[in-house]
């Protein structure tokens, strides 16, 4: 088949990139199979060609880091010989085209990334973003994606314990589905995607290869126009049952001494797994596609190499161990076939029987892939965007109404409808269920527990990508801290528009710098991550969405704290300071339809002190509840703490004379989203002890009210029966999808 300009374009490659391929092949033109392999390896999705130079700026080192970015997942040390592997990944493009399968296979892919490292997955989280509620596709995408995540995670028996769901018109044409897996493993038993040892056999395991998902990675590296549905065949179909068998079989094989390296076949399937493994080891690899188990007759080498059929793994084994390993997979009714071997040639050679159908240097496909320093430009509209004339915003006439309308916003409303569809208790380790700031999962056989949270406020990132991204890190870490855990590390999933537009690259660069600053200051290295670009349709990009997943450690799982008020008579304390900030708030959006102003400021010194004070107080055993103040501000935070699922309990609060600066507007006080604030409850008699801890950490401290009664009373401005608050907050999403 002759390679024409059209063929090159269909493969998502530029003319210059093509010439680079010819160079890499020593002046020879690639055949169609080779062109296919290059096109996926050099796609944005696999090569990170637009983002790579920026990603290098992210701090990935720390005392607890065992494995940073570059492997299938990052790994941190949690002491006593144990380690935790985690990563977050996007499945945005497929989920918009086919939400159920797109989301399901997103979960499947990230699970494989984690158990490939040798870890048993113990928790799933996700971050979902859909278009405006009034958009015709929103409810359909929400229902489909949630059912897909449930269908996969529930069948696997891994609890889906936390996450976030948000709605905004910027996602009308591109929903976001980011999935995170956390797994536990022994610190000295970590497996890597490494094809070392010349002559070692390469074994294919799992589902057969079909024609599904060919060029999925390329699709994920392109913008949508009209008619995205036509791309449905590039979406893979998930089979969680086979993945469950694969998980159990792999963990059994990992207990043996036979495995040299392993990698899952995710995006770009057999191609990227084999080539990346050879690249990491500095070796070559020889594969005969005739030996690859196939679902149908007549598949070409091109199709076999580029298929993204799910639930497949590639192992490199020690010579002579093939039979023993095959026996374990057989027990789990899985196919395991030797399809090639590791070589010392530095080349990936694909054969079909006797015939060589592709022969390419490994380093040209990987290290020598194009890297772009794309032009960057701050949008001209940014100044106007950041301008907010506070005098033009009149104060609410009825604060009760305002609070209820905020609680009814789908971004704040209870996500019970979502997480009730996820099995969040299987494995009997979930100490804190979905709904509180962070989910907490214990580790059986130890006193330890892991706290985890996924966060991003993309409106902040739109107004100021640097601060918005830093706040995402701060909030994820804060959520983990208020559960009593020490945040150890983060993973990121960077969702942006078309990188070929300088304004998008500006957002991207700013966000990276913001994550960097917060990560360094808060001591949470970025140990893994994923970039999803080209999230735009017909020229409209999503709001920049750098989602952050944080994992923290609780040494004594009895010290876990939730956000819920417990007992009448307890004192409510505010840590932190109220500033007059309304820019980027949900309040402005809900009441005025505005995404405008400056997002809240973030002082990382204050943030660090706040989180340390919180943890210290929780560890001292005096704290009954701890809740971070975020979207919706102080009033919403108090309402959500009051709505304890084990029985709601009211509160009476007066913050007017607290840390408030003189002259602060009442709407900013109640609904502004100033950072680095937490509300705690405790017994009156423990107040002094808390005050000492707050002072020692230099954190502003003030008792602002008491738990009790069946009403929510704030500052003489808000006075609503709890039943009304609960009804509004709980019913919105249910009613929306009904």
């Amino acid at each position: 088949m002759k390679i024409t300009d059209d063929t090159i374009e269909e493969h998502g490659l530029t003319r210059q990139e093509y010439e680079r391929i010819v160079d890499g092949l020593g002046g020879r033109e690639p055949n169609i199979t080779e062109l296919g392999v290059f096109s996926v390896m050099w796609s944005e999705h696999c090569s990170y060609k637009s983002s790579r130079i920026h990603l290098k700026k992210l701090p990935s080192e720390g005392d607890c880091v065992i494995e940073g970015p570059g492997e299938n997942a990052g790994v941190i040390d949690i002491g006593d010989g144990l380690a935790v592997a985690f990563k977050m990944e996007s499945h945005n493009h497929p989920s918009f085209i086919e939400p159920f399968q797109g989301a399901a296979t997103g979960v499947g892919g990230i699970l494989r990334d984690v158990f490939t490292m040798g870890a048993r997955p113990v928790a799933l989280l996700n971050s979902l973003r859909f278009g405006a509620p009034e958009n015709a596709k929103t409810a359909y995408l929400l229902e489909g994606a949630v059912a897909g995540i449930a269908g996969y995670g529930n069948c696997m028996g891994i609890p889906t314990v936390g996450g976030e769901v948000a709605f905004h018109e910027s996602y009308n044409g591109n929903c976001l589905v980011n999935a995170m897996t956390v797994g536990v493993l022994k610190a000295d038993k970590i497996f890597k995607g490494n094809a070392s040892g010349i002559g070692n056999p390469v074994m294919y395991v799992g589902s057969r290869t079909g024609r599904d998902g060919i060029h999925g990675a390329t699709m994920a590296s392109d913008v949508f126009g009209e008619g995205g549905e036509e791309r449905r065949p590039t979406v893979q179909v998930g089979d969680p049952f086979t993945e469950k068998l694969l998980l159990e079989a792999c963990l059994e094989v990992f207990k043996t001494d036979h495995v040299v390296g392993v990698q899952d076949m995710g995006a770009a399937g057999l191609t990227s797994s084999s080539i990346e493994m050879a690249s990491r080891a500095g070796t070559g690899i020889d594969i005969d596609v005739k030996d690859v188990p196939r679902r149908e007759e007549g598949m070409t080498p091109y199709e076999i190499l580029l298929s993204e059929s799910q639930e497949r793994m590639l192992f490199v084994l020690k010579i002579g161990s093939e039979a023993a390993v095959r026996e374990i997979f057989k027990k789990w009714d899985l196919e395991a076939v030797v399809i090639g071997e590791v070589t010392g040639t530095g080349r990936v050679i694909i054969r079909e029987g006797e015939e060589v159908v592709a022969d390419m240097p490994v380093d040209t496909l990987t290290d020598a892939a194009p890297v772009y320093n794309r032009p960057i430009k701050r949008p001209d509209s940014q100044d106007e965007l950041n301008r907010l004339d506070m005098d033009s915003i009149s104060l609410p006439t009825d604060y009760n109404e305002t609070l209820l309308s905020l609680l009814a916003s789908l971004n704040i409303a209870s996500k019970e409808w979502v997480y009730e569809q996820y099995d969040h208790m299987v494995r009997t380790d979930t100490l804190v269920m979905p709904g509180s700031d962070a989910a907490v999962v214990r580790i059986k056989g130890t006193t330890k527990a892991l706290a985890m949270s996924v966060d991003c406020n993309s409106r902040y990132c739109y107004l100021d990508p640097f601060t918005g991204a830093a706040i995402a890190v701060a909030e994820a870490a804060r959520n983990v801290s208020v559960s009593g855990a020490k945040p150890l590390a983060i993973t990121d999933c960077l969702n942006f528009g078309n990188p070929e537009r300088p304004e998008v690259m500006w957002q991207f660069e700013q966000a990276i710098l913001g994550i960097r600053e917060a990560s360094l200051k808060l001591g949470v290295p970025v140990i893994s991550g994923n970039v999803s670009l080209y999230n735009e349709t017909s020229g409209t990009a999503i709001y920049p969405t750098p989602t952050i997943g944080a994992v923290g450690l609780i040494e004594d799982s009895l010290k876990v704290t939730t956000q819920y008020f417990k007992d009448a008579g307890d004192v409510i304390v505010l840590l932190g300071e109220n500033l007059e900030e309304l820019g980027g708030s949900e309040y402005l959006k809900v009441t005025r339809g505005l995404d405008k102003g400056m997002c809240p400021v973030l002082d990382l010194d204050k943030e660090l002190a706040l989180q340390e004070a919180c943890r210290e107080a929780i560890l001292s055993g005096i704290i009954k509840s701890a809740h971070d103040i975020s979207i919706g501000g102080l009033a919403v935070a108090i309402a959500k703490s009051a709505l304890n699922p084990k029985g709601a309990v009211g509160a009476e609060v007066n913050v007017a004379d607290s840390n408030t600066k003189e002259g602060i507007r009442n709407d900013a006080l109640l609904f502004g989203e100033t950072q680095s604030r937490v509300i705690l409850t405790l017994k009156e008699s423990d107040l002094e002890a808390l005050s000492v801890i707050a002072k020692a950490n230099g954190v502003p401290f003030k008792a602002i009210g008491h738990v009790g009664g069946d009403r929510l009373k704030i500052n003489g401005l808000i006075d609503i029966p709890l039943g009304e608050v609960s009804l509004k907050w709980k019913s919105m999403i249910k009613n929306f999808v009904a």
Partner: protein, 229 residues
């Protein structure tokens, strides 16, 4: 005593049941691979929850052909205790060890949450330590828990005291508001006529430690231990 926990391809509450039997109850426990043909030494066989064979066909429809089932039928016929939780209950119905079927939830969605239950019969080896009419809070987690049986079967279930658990409100009322999945008569758990085979949709193994939110499921396992010992 010794619990045996049957593992099918796709079982996923096997570890939880093992933990409950071994670490919470402090009893002996062992996994039983579904191809096993000997049940020697076991006092109670547990069919754990999960998605045996992916439940792609009908829940439990393929699991019932596993070799271990033949042995378990003999084990039950000889009076051995068999407990089926969630997918385990579905499998027991498929094999005919328990009457009736479990259909797709009336709301058509998977549901994971705490539900209220009322204990209907304490004269069984599984509920001995509860009180008649006792109200429990135990989680469910299933997509196919909508119990159905024809009128005649229901009549005999009821007449023989085989209905063990019903979904109930906080006040103990058995009404539609307490029914999470559309089960006929709010039925959440039943036994066979001889009361040595018990199937239930709720997950007692998830409600045995206070740190996980409640201990209302503990006495099911405690009853078994007491009866056997």
């Amino acid at each position: 005593m010794k619990f045996g926990i049957v593992v099918f391809p796709g079982s996923n509450c096997d570890h939880d049941c093992y933990h409950a039997a071994k670490h919470v109850m402090g009893q002996e426990a062992e996994y039983i691979w579904h191809k096993t043909t000997s049940l020697k030494g076991f006092d109670c066989i547990v069919f754990p929850g999960g998605f045996s064979y992916g439940d792609y066909l009908r829940t439990g429809a393929i699991a019932k052909f596993s070799p271990v089932l033949k042995e378990i039928k003999k084990f039950a016929d000889n009076g051995g205790l068999v407990l089926g939780i969630c997918n385990g209950f579905q499998i027991l119905c498929e094999t005919g060890l328990l009457p009736g079927v479990l259909m797709r939830n009336s709301g058509l969605k998977f549901i994971c949450k705490d539900v209220g239950l009322r204990v209907e019969n304490v004269n069984t080896p599984f509920t001995k330590l509860y009180e008649e009419g006792q109200l429990l809070d135990i989680p469910i987690a299933h997509a196919d828990g909508n119990y159905f049986a024809d009128a005649e079967t229901l009549k005999s279930l009821s007449g023989n005291g085989q209905i063990i658990l019903r979904y109930a409100t906080k006040d103990g009322d058995v009404d539609a508001s307490a029914n999470p999945n559309g089960s006929v008569g709010n039925i959440a758990g039943i036994t066979n006529k001889e009361k040595n085979v018990f199937g239930l949709m709720p997950h007692p193994e998830r409600a045995m430690e206070a740190s996980l939110g409640g201990t209302d499921g503990y006495a099911f396992f405690e009853s078994i231990v007491k009866v056997v010992s």
